[in-house]
């Protein structure tokens, strides 16, 4: 499971889990004896298996090496598996037996913040302004954590949606990485001549990547799904133009006709079978089941839309602090230590997503992966969250309206089916999202 393909799923599940937690809050809180977040002289840090098998042991080692200042709690490490993680978090938080600090699903912090369980990170970030960590974050990341009440979390690792191409197939087709929508259309046409699809993605059972990519094209064209008031605003000229472009691709046969129902595994098998010459996925695509093709996969360039804009979609995974902690100062001190010492998680290639800190991205070990370097250099600065174009900060309604919801999946499958018109499909999406926000 790559972090790229799971990012959205985490978001969905996190919401469900939070919901379960909310339902159980009253009862469990009544039964609780306190002592959450660690209790006494220890505090709990829960982290997810963000990478391969070597990730959590190294992460634990870093955590347990933390030596708190006098009077502050030490840290206790717990790896939480992705399976049923939302239930794990929500029931623990509801019963006040949860962690003091944790990572989790991408929008988990915003859900818990909505329930009043999160300790906002404003003070922590202020302190980081003094010791340099704040300025070490890649541009735009911290803004994505901002809510009206404060910063719900701090950025941890990035899940991005970007373009990939198979350099051998591109050479065979006689084309180079496109830089604009027009060039992209030409690349698709050239790839079609050698029997390869140029718009490779999937939107089948459990796969939300397709919907992410359609939203990414809207953002690429200066559009997006939410306005500055955090209200859905789907039927805009930018979005219509973007979806008409996708429909043109689909109708021209540049997209796999079965893509609407492809799972992540199906998408990987198409790359492996050299049926996808150019496509859209997460940063971990080469690490998936793509076989020998992995060595041929190269990150594409961000495309410039017809109006000269660039953009795309990303999911800033994050670390949050909870109000239920033996010491808020202890939580902040631990996170400061953690962010100063977490670089080996990336430099030792544990498989975690892209780093949030420039200092890690600048290490020679990280720079050895040219694809990742290109993502951070070319893509990260132009990527936006679901909140675009109205804002950059994530918010509560994103989880229950667009991130993996049925209307978004239906919209994507209908566009990839090629039998709808852009405005009609976007109008239906707008109505559906409004319905979900009631």
């Amino acid at each position: 499971m790559t972090s790229q393909s799971t990012g959205a799923a985490f978001t969905r599940r996190s919401f469900i889990g939070v919901a379960g937690g909310a339902a159980a809050t009253a009862l469990l809180a009544a039964c609780s004896t306190g002592g959450g977040g660690g209790g006494g002289d220890t505090m709990k840090f829960w982290n997810m298996p963000w990478g391969g098998t070597e990730f959590n042991p190294l992460d634990k080692k870093i955590t347990l090496a933390y030596e708190p200042k006098s009077g502050l709690p030490s840290a206790k490490y717990q790896a939480i598996q992705w399976a049923n993680f939302t239930q794990t978090f929500s029931s623990a938080v509801a019963s006040n037996t949860g962690p003091a600090v944790s990572s989790g699903g991408g929008t988990q912090a915003f859900q818990f913040a909505n329930q009043g369980k999160i300790a906002y990170a404003d003070d922590l970030l202020d302190s980081w302004k003094k010791d340099g960590i704040y300025d070490d974050f890649l541009p735009g990341l911290i803004d994505a954590m901002k809510t009206d009440e404060g910063y719900a979390a701090v950025p941890y690792n990035l899940d991005v949606r970007i373009s990939w191409y198979n350099k051998s197939l591109m050479e065979q087709a006689g084309v180079e990485s496109p830089k604009s929508w027009d060039e992209y259309m030409n690349v698709c046409a050239a790839l079609k001549k050698i029997g390869v699809y140029g718009f490779g993605l999937g939107s089948g059972a459990g796969s939300f990547t397709g919907s992410h990519i359609l939203a990414a094209f809207m953002i690429n064209n200066g559009g997006g799904l939410f306005n500055a008031d955090k209200k859905p605003d789907c039927v805009t000229p930018e979005n219509i133009q973007a979806m008409e472009f996708i429909l043109e691709i689909v109708k021209a046969g540049y997209s796999d006709p079965a893509a609407a129902t492809y799972t992540s595994a199906n998408v990987e098998s198409q790359w492996k079978a050299k049926k996808f010459g150019f496509g859209w996925d997460g940063a971990g695509l080469p690490a998936g089941a793509v076989g020998d093709v992995a060595g041929d996969l190269v990150v594409g360039d961000p495309l410039t839309g017809p109006s000269g804009t660039k953009g795309g979609l990303y999911f800033p995974n994050n670390i949050m602090m909870y109000k239920n902690t033996p010491s808020q100062k202890g939580s902040e001190a631990f996170l400061t230590y953690y962010y100063k010492n977490m670089a080996p998680l990336w430099t030792k290639n544990t498989g975690i997503g892209l780093p949030p800190l420039k200092s890690i991205a600048d290490t020679s070990e990280f720079k050895a992966d040219v694809n990742k370097v290109k993502i951070l250099a070319d893509w990260q600065p132009i990527l936006k969250t679901w909140a675009a174009p109205g804002g950059s900060g994530l918010f509560y309604n994103i989880a229950n309206t667009v991130d993996g919801t049925a209307p978004m999946l239906d919209f994507t499958q209908s566009i990839l089916g090629g039998k709808v018109d852009a405005k009609g499909a976007l109008t239906k999406l707008q109505t559906s999202i409004e319905g979900l926000m009631k």
Partner: protein, 321 residues
Amino acid sequence: MSTESVAGALKKARRGVGVAGPGRSPGARPAKKRKNSHARVLLLFALPSLILLVLLNLYPVIYAGLQSLRNGDLISAGDFVGFSNYINVVQTPEFWHSAWFTLVFTVTGVFGSWAVGLGLALFLRTRIPANGLFKVLLLLPWVVPVVVSATSWNWLVATPQSPLPILFDALGFGNVLFLADPVLAQVTVCVFKVWVSFPFMMMMMSSALASVDINVYEASKVDGASSWQTFTQITLPIISRSTYISWILMTIFCVNDFPTIFLLTGGGPVNATRSLVVLAYSTVFQNFQTGPGVAIAFIMTLVLVVIATMLYRQIRKVNIE
């Protein structure tokens, strides 16, 4: 006890007198009173289970029922809105599309798996070599977890490089989109359901056929009945009770079947294979609309109860005949 006394005891027993003495004759105590006392004892023994049942089943059902009358989401209970969730749900085209597909899926699943299961059960009655091995192999689709079989079927049909599309292409049907074409996706999901379910039907029909007296067939042969007449006039009526029971069970299995559909198509493409149970799931867990989602589930339950009652009456009718 001597032989004589045993004989005497048996005599007494036939008259209703116990070995220990004459005691009270059966008629001495009113039958109704005895029955009531017996019922009370039974109730006492069953009480722990009943309490558990109430706690485990009735409470969630009542809680869900109340949720269906509110406009909440997974976080908040929401306001009481009466039956408006039910009214709103049945006014959406998505509901009726899902209801229609549920009907198609159920009818195909029930009768398709029954026909295949009965056919195989009849076939396995014949003396074929390795009969036991066949039975075990034929049970595999039922035994294998649906997650595994759905993944296998996905591998079989999902991409143009999958075995079945390659086969169909070779046969001249072109690039067949088993999951991406809405109609074909519906057909594929239904066929998958039949494949998963026929072993259950085969077992049910095999056990029903095993109870049929072989002499009946001998007699019909002597009377000159054809194979078809034997099947329709003897076999089917004799196994009808088991058939109706299996239909009831399979109807419930099909209407409530979530993994078969969700794992293979996720309800897509564009709602094509979204049954009512998948619609209920996506309404609650993808769209976070608890009230309408639970309302859909309750409507499903109501319809299932009606269908099961009708089939159960048919069973009673068969019993009487």
